[in-house]
């Protein structure tokens, strides 16, 4: 009975062209893997294309690593990626060491401005343009170092506009942020917690080899 009622409601929404909040069938969605096997398994293959997803977590939780893992997967399949770097934090050397094909990465550099609000507004505009242009497998907006007060000054419709821009495209739109911001109805929120993996006994011999990542995924139930 509940299933029938839900189907009736969804068909009514489609007739009225209000079906944007409906979650598409997840098993038919295209996705792009992140390289983290546990996370990809949970996500059913990877981050969904055509949706706005977010990767959130505190500092050194592996947010950038996961986002760059998706970009590496895109490069391995010969596709392009785009990174809107709000505060110019991208380090090409470590990205290349992580396997990202730099030639296929469009890097949009922001500025390390004292006033973050103009830099944030420019970055959101640039991200919107990238999504509208299409042709990228992964497009990421790096908001990891943006203060929550600056994020709150953005109009709430910003995220609807971004979700609308990526809808129906083959781009997996990502927002890297310290806390939950927004996602499209079919997008996912990947919450990361991680611990650094130190190897070696003495200071000189020790190295921070990587992260023990513990992802948890928040997503709406499949229809």
């Amino acid at each position: 009975m509940a299933i029938l009622a839900r189907a009736d409601l969804e068909s009514l929404l489609r007739v009225r062209k209000l079906d944007r909040t409906l979650v598409p069938a997840r098993e038919h969605r295209e996705s792009i893997p992140t390289g983290l096997s546990t996370l990809d398994k949970t996500l059913g293959g990877g981050l969904p294309r055509g949706e706005l997803s977010e990767i959130v977590g505190p500092r050194s939780s592996g947010r950038t690593t996961v986002a760059f893992g998706a970009m590496r997967s895109a490069g391995e399949s010969g596709e392009l990626s785009a990174l809107v770097d709000t505060f110019d934090r991208f380090d090409p050397e470590s990205a290349a060491a992580a396997g990202i094909r730099l030639a296929g990465l469009l890097w949009v550099r922001g500025e390390s401005a004292i006033d973050p609000v103009p830099a944030l507004e420019r970055a959101v505009k640039a991200f919107n343009l990238v999504l509208q242009a299409g042709g990228f497998a992964v497009a990421a907006l790096d908001l990891a170092d943006v203060a929550p007060s600056a994020l709150r000054r953005l109009p709430f419709t910003t995220w609807f506009r971004l979700a609308r821009a990526v809808e129906g495209r083959r781009t997996a739109a990502l927002i890297v942020a310290p806390d939950h911001l927004a996602r499209s109805p079919g997008g996912v929120t990947v919450v990361l917690e991680a611990a650094p993996r130190w190897v070696g006994s003495s200071d000189r011999a020790r190295i921070c080899e990587g992260l023990w990542v513990h992802p948890s995924v928040s997503l709406l139930p499949a229809s």
Binding site: G35, L36, P58, R59, S60, G62, R63, T64, T65, F68, G69, G75, E76, S77, G78, D88, R89, F90, D91, P92, E93, S94, A95, A96, A97, A98, G99, R101, L102, A103, G104, L105, L106, W107, V108, R109, G110, S112, R122, K125, A126, L129, V130, A133, G134, G135, F136, A144, D145, A147, P196, G200, D203, R204, R206, I207, C208, E209, G210, L211
Partner: protein, 461 residues
């Protein structure tokens, strides 16, 4: 569907008239004219219905030359080589058909026609010395020592033996002696200029009215480019202001393109991101107005794209160029592109290159660096954050910064130092790198060994 019409070439040669004047005569019959140093070759195939058979064409060519006051020799053959050889020799071969009424008229030149398939016989009686103008001057003494005097004697030799003696030149000699071509006729094409300009009745000011003017200029240029199968490799916009000042902007395009809308958008975005006026004036103004707008396009062969069933389609160069121009208008020039590493050990050294070029050549750059999974990525502070670091036996134990949002704290884990130095001739660095785990994350901190100052270089994430 019938067989394709054979190519018939006429050679006009005159010892007195320059090739340019002969070309004027030839262009009255066909646009496909190849100019040589002292003669011209014209493709007269297809003139059967307009002028007549080859003998008639030869006679008409000779008549046209006479009207221009040129004493010319006309030879019509199925090959360039046969026509040229017969025209150069004052005594044509026995197989040449002398055109009635155009043969050996004193002071008026002559015309001959070589029947198709008889080129070898037509040139067989010509002397070998005629080949000297075709670049075989070095081989002629050798042929003379062999006792060869005519092209027919040379054509009778086996080509393989000539190749054994002369190499590739031997085969070329044999082809010439047989009256065969080594290449087709290549018509001279006058370079087409793709430029347009407009004098405005009333001066315009601002980008919006300029957009309409650019559309009016670019639409016919785009059509002309398409008809000529060309694309624009660079576009130059010249604005003449009411102050008689001329402003010129040149856009180098990453790939040949001819879409008028894309070109207009790129020009407008360039003007928007690089305003014409000074700092104190309105960014979209043009010092009172624009009097004249001129566009000059540098053409290049159009782009041929072969799509693949196995490769994912990439965005077109037009889309990428427009996107990058729009992004640069927002973020600033030089802040959009593809990152690239430089050959240096300097921390944080990189360069940024144009993105479109790399995408176009992606199939030659499929090298992917394999590395460890889940390697930590450095989020680099482009401007290092000054920090105060407490040491215990030379090891960091506490990090403090004044930057809001970077609290610092007690060092939980550390690794290092890794020493690096270099660039003493230019941008010197002499540093110790540490990686330290603070309560809110893993940081890379750096000590400048010369000044003994500490700073945060980035966060591992």
């Amino acid at each position: 569907m019938g067989a394709p019409e054979r190519i018939v070439v006429a050679c006009l040669l005159s010892p007195t008239a320059p090739a340019e004047r002969l070309a004027d005569v030839a262009r009255a019959f066909s646009p496909r004219v190849e100019c040589r140093s002292d003669c011209v070759l014209v493709d007269v195939s297809g003139l059967g219905r307009i002028v007549g058979e080859p003998p008639v064409v030869a006679r008409e060519l000779l008549r046209e030359a006479r009207t221009h006051g040129i004493d010319a020799v006309v030879a019509v053959a199925a090959t360039r080589m046969a026509a040229t050889l017969c025209a150069r020799c004052q005594v044509p071969g026995a197989w040449c058909e002398r055109v009635p009424g155009a043969w050996q008229v004193p002071g008026a030149g002559y015309a001959i026609v070589i029947p198709q398939g008889r080129e070898r016989e037509a040139v067989s009686e010509l002397p070998l010395s005629v080949l000297s103008v075709f670049g075989f001057a070095e081989e002629l003494p050798t042929l003379d020592r062999w006792g060869l005097r005519t092209l027919g004697e040379l054509a009778a030799l086996p080509p393989a033996d000539l190749h054994a003696r002369f190499g590739a030149a031997g085969l070329a000699l044999h082809r010439a002696a047989c009256g065969r071509d080594d290449r087709p006729l290549v018509p001279n094409v006058d370079p087409i200029r793709f430029e347009a300009s407009i004098e405005l009745e009333w001066p315009i000011d601002g980008l919006e009215p300029l957009s309409f003017v650019l559309a009016r200029l670019l639409d016919p240029l785009s059509t002309a480019l398409e008809q000529a199968d060309r694309g624009a490799s660079a576009i130059t916009l010249t604005l003449t202001l009411t102050t008689r000042e001329r402003v010129s902007r040149r856009l180098e395009l990453p790939a040949p393109m001819r879409d008028a809308r894309t070109l207009r958008t790129l020009l407008l975005l360039h003007l928007e991101s690089h305003p014409v006026t000074g700092a104190g004036e309105e960014a979209s103004g043009f010092n009172g107005g624009i009097d004249r707008v001129a566009i000059d396009i540098e053409p290049t062969p159009a782009r041929i794209v072969q799509y693949s069933l196995l490769e994912r389609a990439l965005p077109s160069p037009e889309t990428l160029s427009t996107l990058i121009a729009r992004l640069e208008a927002i973020m600033g020039a030089g802040r959009v592109g593809a990152p690239a590493l430089v050959d240096s050990h300097e921390p944080g050294a990189f360069t940024i290159s144009r993105f479109g070029d790399l995408v176009i050549s992606r199939f030659s750059d499929r090298q992917i660096t394999k590395s460890q999974d889940h390697q930590m990525i450095l989020r680099r502070f482009r401007l290092p954050v000054p920090a105060r670091v407490d040491l215990d036996c030379g090891r960091p134990v506490r990090v403090t910064t004044l930057r809001r949002g970077l609290a610092g704290g007690r060092v939980l884990e550390r690794a290092g130092p890794w020493r690096s130095s270099g660039g003493w001739w230019d941008r010197k660095w002499n540093i110790d790198d540490w990686e330290v785990a603070l309560p809110d994350g893993v940081y890379r901190i750096v000590r400048d060994r010369d000044s003994n100052r500490w700073c945060l270089a980035g966060i591992l994430d």
